[in-house]
Amino acid sequence: MTANSTALAPASLFVGDVTLKGLEDDIYRPLESFPTTRWWLAISFTGALASIFALCAGITVTQGIGTWGNNNPVGWGWAIVNFVFWVGIGHAGTLISAILFLFRQRWRTGIARFAEAMTVFAVICAMQFPLFHTGRPWLAMFWLIPYPNDQGIYQNFRSPLEWDVFAVSTYGLVSLMFWYTGLIPDLATARDRAKHQFRKFVYGVLSLGWKGSNRAWSHYEKAYLLFAGLSTPLVLSVHSIVSFDFAVSVIPGWHTTIFPPYFVAGAIFSGFAMVATLIIILRKMFHLQHLITDNHLELMNKIIIATSLMVGYAYAMEFFMAWYSGVAYERYVFLNRALGPYAWAYWTMAICNVLAPQLLWFKKIRRTALLMYPVVLLVNVGMWFERFVIVVTSLHRDFLPSSWDYYKPTLVDIGLFVGSIGIFLTLMLLFCRFLPTIAATELKVVLAESRSEGGHRE
């Protein structure tokens, strides 16, 4: 084969001479060595942040929701913003593991495990906000989950908030099971590599006695495919239902038909940005640049720019239709977004989500971790602001001008959000130390395949 036509071949997923043994050693090294000082420093910091969450949650529970900034027109404040933000982040994992699997995208293997873990932790963070918004989380089970009771009182099944309970908990559970199913062969490897008896025992239990027999693999592959098939509609449904929280209402700025696909695109956008944000640090700290290569970053950046454009399309379409509809309230809400008291938030969102990702048109930026890093950080910020803009600007000036108000978060609001970041990062740090961050077994298959292809090419 001439060098000419190989220009069209898919990019390599490995850098340098990667061997099966070397690959395994590199992935399992963090599990088998004592954490570095840097890791201890990092987890102390994130743990401290997480404790802020505990503190603010305590204040909320003991003193009530009045400690939050919610006011009369803005009945939903940071809590729902944070909820949607975290659920959105939780989208990349299952998209990578399910949809990219069905599309036979082999590059997903390098980042799938990490993204799935992120999904599970992000959903955990997301659930905190509606839970504490109920005021008495220990009673929430009775309020949220329909169960037969002698009072004959049931949840309002016509409320999208109730659909959320089902959608998010289903998504969380399926993501967790999908993640765990994928982990089983890798946990077995951790067990087989273990030197200490206790370690062998723990990983042995976790790997459910995996032996790697033909029959086990056959069942495993089948289960994985089924999970992928089941998760795919879930990826779309969760954020569609989250968007229904807003869109089934008749509030201008919330009630618009493009919301479901727009929210899904935004969720994938923010999820990929968060994966990129964290995986760049991971591959640097654990020296995994030869397994999570610049080619992986480039492909992720392409998805980021594609979804950024989809989100931009939705922003533009909302504005156009607000004008085209001729409805005075629709027009006012959108003008108020761009020029009103929250214009700063609106333009932050537009710049971070639509303008900044345009830098990724440059190949050099897509492929250089240091150059793309500011972009993905901005996307993380921008996607939080998107939810803020949707929630707060649509509410703060409602149909009755006498009740217009300006929403400001309180310290408790801020503490809960910062604290949830702490919970998320703490869980990520623990994950990096106790579980293989890359799907080692799957990656070995990809490595073997790419080698045999190299043979073909000659």
Binding site: N4, F244, F259
Partner: protein, 437 residues
């Protein structure tokens, strides 16, 4: 490098030859459709119905051509390898877009002589003057701007179709190899952006503005999803037909290709349902009169049956028929599901367009048959013309390797070059035999 293998692969598939049967059928369709159309046009009673029927049939061929153009662009964008074997078929349908542009001219003439046809209410100056909502939209909904937009849309689509289809045909002729492929990949991204904007506003202009008071932000995506299903259906039908008639050579388009087409079709059928449900559910739930009237009209009287049929034909039946994996490799099933989905597209467009003229119930009579027959005839004529001149396979594509499918999920990567068919005939059959037992 490009010259030698393309010689080799062209030996494996038959040279282009005329398809007399298709051409004759096409000519008959064009004549019958044309006569019916003219008859409806000159009759004072049926003229308005003819106008709507023309828009209906026009939107169908438009969706075929533009959906195929999207398919071609998408394959370049994602650097797809498997689809090389079917991409030319999509390129063929994408090349139809210039014919669609010609077919748009009569539509524009109706708009100019709107007082006689009454297609778009916003063209009625009297009506606009007495309706503050309509006159508020005058900046967008006016004939000069409408025309300018249409010209820009068609100019862009024709340019891109010429670029992608022309580039691929150039490779067949041995001119331009890897460079052309790489350039098409680079162009695919900006193409997608322009496609999204133009397809959206074309759907708003031609379909949504039939009811100028109604609005839905998802409308462009709705039309797009139906468009992609339509083009995938027609590509699937053409692939199976060309394969069985021997025009694609032997072993080049395998079950794996059908499987992939089936997967995409299944995926976009679900996507259409998702978008349609999102639009319907949110409007129904919000229940604001200024947008719900559009749906109420389509759920009232005789239209209810059609709305239910739409859900069955466009989603429920194809979903169940394509769900299992063997179903997607079954050529017969793929074809009948695709035919059903093409009917579904006609149904969907009918559902969008016709309630504007027949308020109480769907009406189908001979005036509704003229334009669809005419345009299907034109489509068939175009295909027979294309196949007479060009190969239905992109033989000049310099892709280094193509997956030869043994089973839907198991394939070996092989060169597209001479070894391709040979490998499939000997090696693949042995593997297939082993795997099947």
């Amino acid at each position: 490098m490009s010259a030698e293998p393309s010689h080799a692969i062209t030996d494996l598939i038959p040279a282009p030859r005329p398809c007399a049967g298709l051409r004759n059928a096409a000519v008959i369709l064009v004549i019958v459709g044309g006569l019916l159309s003219v008859a409806a046009l000159i009759s004072d009673v049926h003229r308005a119905r003819f106008g709507f029927a023309y828009l209906w049939a026009f939107s169908f061929v438009w969706a075929v051509a533009l959906g195929a153009l999207f398919f071609v662009g998408l394959q370049h964008l994602v650097h797809a390898v498997w689809s090389v074997a079917v991409r030319r078929i999509a390129e063929m349908f994408a090349g139809l877009i210039w014919l669609v542009a010609i077919l748009f001219v009569p539509l524009l003439l109706y708009c100019i002589y709107n007082d006689r046809f009454g297609l778009y209410p916003w063209l009625d100056a009297n009506k606009v003057a007495h309706d503050s909502l309509l006159s508020g939209k005058k900046a967008y909904l006016n004939l000069p701007f409408f025309t300018v937009r249409a010209v820009v849309f068609f100019a862009l689509w024709i340019a891109f179709a010429a670029y992608f289809t022309g580039g691929s045909l150039k490779q067949d002729a041995g001119r331009g190899g890897v460079e052309v492929s790489l350039r098409m990949r680079r162009t695919a991204a900006p193409f997608m952006m322009l496609f999204a904007v133009t397809a959206t506003f074309a759907s708003i202009d031609w379909l949504m503005s039939l009811e100028p008071l109604w609005f839905s932000t998802i409308f462009g995506v709705y039309v797009f999803s139906g468009m992609v299903v339509t083009s995938l259906s027609i590509i699937s039908i053409a692939t199976v037909w060309l394969r069985s008639s021997g025009r694609l050579g032997r072993g080049i388009v395998g079950d794996g290709h059908l499987y992939n087409l089936g997967v995409l079709l299944f995926g976009f059928v679900c996507f259409w349902a998702y978008i349609a449900f999102s639009q319907y559910m949110l409007i129904w739930y919000g229940n604001i009169p200024e947008e719900s009237f559009y749906l109420i009209r389509r759920l009232d009287g005789g239209w209810l049956v059609l709305s239910i049929a739409l859900a069955l034909v466009r989603f429920v039946i194809p979903f169940l028929a394509l769900l299992s994996r063997p179903a997607k490799i079954n050529a017969t099933r793929l074809v009948w599901v695709s035919v059903l989905l093409l009917l579904g597209q006609f149904l969907d467009l009918y559902w969008l367009i016709m309630p504007q003229i027949h308020h109480d119930q769907p009406v189908v009579g001979w005036p509704e048959f003229g334009p669809p027959l005419l345009m299907l005839g034109a489509l068939a004529l175009y295909i027979s013309h294309f196949l007479k001149r060009y190969l239905p396979l992109a033989v000049g594509d310099p892709l280094p390797e193509m997956p030869v499918f043994l089973l839907p999920h198991r394939f070996v990567r092989l060169s597209l070059e001479p070894s391709y068919t040979e490998a499939f005939e000997s090696l693949a059959r042995r593997f297939r035999h082993v795997l099947e037992n």
